[in-house]
């Protein structure tokens, strides 16, 4: 049983539940207390000791049910969900020699596996699959492409070779029996495939997710496929959560060493002003104030979408955000983003200003005319755009005034550095007035950029 619990820990890690060695020790102690006979109690005990949040509880509960699911007998086939029939079966077989338990009705000269299949001894087959998948170390499976190799390894460990020989022999001597054996072999293949699929579901989830996230993080945002957009949004939310946790610390910090005389005297009035209790001066930390100006013309729209989603998921960290979107002219979009779901909000913004050809000059004029008052000396202005102004007047002078009025001016450009300044790109001209200019094409770069901006306020 201990083996099984350990394998369950691995499966739990696969399901995304963090199980540290200390936690596994605790879980083992808990299991020792409650025993393994009552599965619902066992489930509760493991959920209590291993899962640390409601989400983890759900994931772990599913994992538990999958892990300890019993073989469902289908028709009269020796069908088995295999390796985790553990509850009753794992003690019986000695690993490797997968097959000493079998009934003796079929001809005795056949191999052990063939005999087992023909006698339709379900639990023996299940046990054999379990021990064979143990021998093939199924719990090491990581990618779906490995399914074939693990299936064949398990079948080999069960003695497929011998079975084939038997089959050849039988088709000559006893065709009817060979037919039965062939059918049983097909069923066995299926069972093994199911076992491997289950193993994949149990052990490989974490790896697969990490891999996918890693690829997504480094994929260019502008050219992301439609079917990945939802996953990308989830990833952006994850990033937002990480940033929130890192930066949403209390805003007051005690400054040790600077006595707050007034508060100290007041607090110690009871002792005639003798300072038993000291009060120290506190330092207030500002939360970032952000003005985001995003290009939503065709080429940059997708990146702006993700950027706005990220900025607006940072409520706990960022005090106030004013967002503006433009392509040929500029509007404020903060309210739309606050009140609607990301999908709807983006659709509305796009219908209002999106997809035009971008005109940085006139958009900056719009901003100066109406919204210049949103800028304070504490504000960080973030401009997101490729600075391709279709050869219209870039009005870099307005950008200079914006930069003078604000704390910092950060320009995020989704294009690679090589392309800056070529064609109609006005990047070099704008760059002179920016505190920071950085490339921002992938989720990873986006995270770094936003993280740096927030960090300057800490």
């Amino acid at each position: 049983m201990r083996e099984n619990i350990h394998r369950f820990f691995r499966a739990a890690r696969g399901a995304g539940v963090h199980v540290s060695p200390a936690e596994s020790i605790d879980a083992m102690r808990a299991v020792a207390q409650v025993g393994v006979s009552d599965r619902t109690i066992l489930r509760d005990a493991l959920l209590l000791t291993l899962a640390k949040s409601q989400d983890e509880k759900l994931a772990l509960g599913d994992c538990f049910d999958l892990f300890f699911s019993q073989p469902e007998p289908r028709q009269d086939q020796p069908e088995a969900e295999g390796e985790d029939a553990s509850q009753n079966a794992d003690q019986s077989p000695s690993s490797g020699a997968a097959s000493d338990a079998s009934a003796g009705s079929p001809p005795a000269e056949l191999g052990a596996l063939a005999q087992m299949l023909l006698s339709q001894d379900r639990s023996a087959v299940a046990a054999a699959i379990a021990s064979a998948s143990g021998a093939a170390s199924l719990s090491d499976i990581r990618y779906s492409t490995q399914r074939g190799i693990f299936s064949s390894r398990i079948l080999d460990a069960m003695g497929l070779q011998r079975l084939r020989d038997d089959l050849d022999e039988l088709s000559a001597t006893n065709p009817a029996l060979a037919e039965r054996l062939r059918a049983a072999l097909d069923a066995l293949r299926e069972a093994v495939r199911d076992t491997v699929a289950q193993g994949l579901a149990l052990y490989a989830r974490e790896e697969a997710e990490n891999l996918r996230n890693e690829i997504l993080r480094n994929a260019p945002l502008a050219r992301i496929e439609r079917r990945h957009v939802a996953e990308m949004r989830a990833l952006i939310r994850q990033i937002a959560r990480r940033l929130r946790e890192r930066y949403s610390k209390p805003r007051k910090r005690q400054r040790r060493g600077h006595l707050d005389v007034r508060r100290t005297l007041r607090r110690n009035a009871a002792w005639g002003g003798i300072p038993f209790l000291t009060a120290w001066k506190r330092k207030h930390r500002d939360r970032p104030k952000i003005v985001a100006i995003c290009d939503v013309s065709g080429s940059v729209a997708q990146v702006s979408d993700f950027f706005l989603l990220l900025i607006h998921s940072l409520h706990e960290v960022v005090d106030d955000v004013h967002s503006f979107a433009f392509s040929s002219h500029l509007i404020e979009v903060s309210d739309i983003l606050e009140s609607k779901s990301p999908e709807e909000a983006m659709a509305e913004i796009m219908s209002k200003v999106g997809f035009g050809s971008s005109d940085y000059g006139s958009s900056l004029v719009d901003f100066e005319k109406e919204f210049m008052s949103t800028l304070t000396p504490q504000t960080t202005v973030i401009v997101l755009g490729d600075a391709r102004s279709n050869n219209l007047d870039p009005r870099a002078d307005i950008l200079r005034r914006i930069s003078e009025r604000s704390k910092r001016l950060v320009w995020l450009n989704p294009e690679g550095r090589l392309a800056w300044g070529f064609g109609d790109s006005e990047m070099p001209r704008y760059a002179t007035f920016c505190s920071v200019v950085r490339q921002c094409a992938t989720a990873q770069q986006l995270e770094r950029a936003v993280s740096d901006i927030v960090a300057t306020y800490q």
């Binding site: 540290s20 207390q33 409650v34 005990a45 209590l48 640390k52 949040s53």
Partner: protein, 315 residues
């Protein structure tokens, strides 16, 4: 106890808590049983009003132990949670003992000798006499053990969490002047949290994690039955069914168990024998605490009552 079968032991916990008027689900009972067996604190999370604090009270009453409660809030520090020196008393004693001190030190010729004599005194003023134990230290000093309730840990600062770690894992605290104080008998520790912020992994790792959500209909009926015994069975079914319908709405604050019990009391007080639209409208403010929520629920009342009555027929 150890020889007992776990399932019967868990049932014993369940019935013990039930005797105190706390109807526990099996998960809760398992958590209580395990925390006792492997001596780990329980971290209880869940929406407000589902009986997180009540659980601690029920355990204390059931085991006949004292309950020590530490309410957390922003800015709570070790002086308020753990221990503090009795400054005023120290000051007073030094004043009173001034003459005595003079006597003791009078014989000394040099400053060095006086200092040595002072050392012989020992650290009188920093001894146990002058320590004011706060809830955490009190809990460790209970000879018969106790139930320590650390309420709403999510409201405290992250620094305070780290302060708790030593207590939670080893049931001891270290006071620099006195050394380490270990628990006479490890207390049963219950921490509650409304998930206002994520707690640190280090804290979570040391606890059994128990999530109490809204109870199922049957369980909630039993809770109402034990808390408000004089309510009729039909009304109880109807009102619990109604509340379950309300919870399916998208509201700012869903009514939780404490609101159910309040409402049951109100209905008994108004001598209602059945739910009808008028009485629900009049008493809806017991259940819902926001104007917007009440407005959202108003138009649905009649349908919900009908649904609740229907489920009553089959249930």
């Amino acid at each position: 106890m150890a020889e007992q079968k776990p399932s019967t032991a868990i049932e014993a916990v369940e019935s013990g808590l039930a005797a105190q008027g706390y109807i526990a689900s099996r998960q809760i009972a398992t958590a209580v049983y395990l925390s006792q067996q492997i001596e780990k604190p329980i971290l209880v999370e869940g929406p407000a009003g589902v009986g997180k604090t009540e659980l601690a009270k029920a355990i204390a009453a059931w085991r006949g132990m004292k309950m020590i409660r530490l309410q957390c809030y922003e800015g709570l520090d070790e002086a308020k949670a753990l221990y503090e020196w009795k400054y005023a008393k120290q000051l007073l004693y030094t004043q009173i003992l001034k003459d005595k001190l003079g006597e003791v030190l009078g014989g000394a010729q040099t400053l060095h000798a006086a200092l040595n004599q002072l050392h012989d005194f020992g650290d009188v003023f920093f001894s146990k006499e002058f320590v004011e134990p706060r809830p955490l230290l009190q809990a460790l000093e209970q000879p018969g053990g106790c139930v320590l309730l650390i309420d709403e840990i999510d409201k405290s600062d992250a620094e305070f969490e780290s302060l708790l770690l030593e207590i939670l894992s080893d049931f001891q605290v270290t006071i620099p002047e006195l050394g380490t104080v270990s628990a006479i008998k490890p207390p049963t520790v219950i921490l509650t949290s409304n998930s206002e912020r994520d707690l640190g992994d280090a804290l979570k790792r040391r606890c059994l994690h128990l999530h109490i959500g809204f109870p199922e209909q049957r369980l909630e009926e039993r809770i109402v039955e034990s808390r408000v015994p004089n309510i009729s069975q039909t009304l109880r079914r109807q009102m619990v069914g109604f509340i379950h319908e309300i919870r399916s709405l998208d509201l700012k604050k869903l009514p939780s168990v404490s609101e159910t019990i309040d409402w049951a009391r109100v209905l008994v007080l108004l001598q209602a024998s059945e739910l009808d639209t008028d009485i629900v409208k009049d008493t809806l403010n017991v259940l819902l605490k926001y104007e917007a929520d009440i407005e959202a629920a108003q138009p649905q009342i009649t349908t919900f009552i009908a649904k609740a009555a229907r489920s009553n027929v089959f249930g």
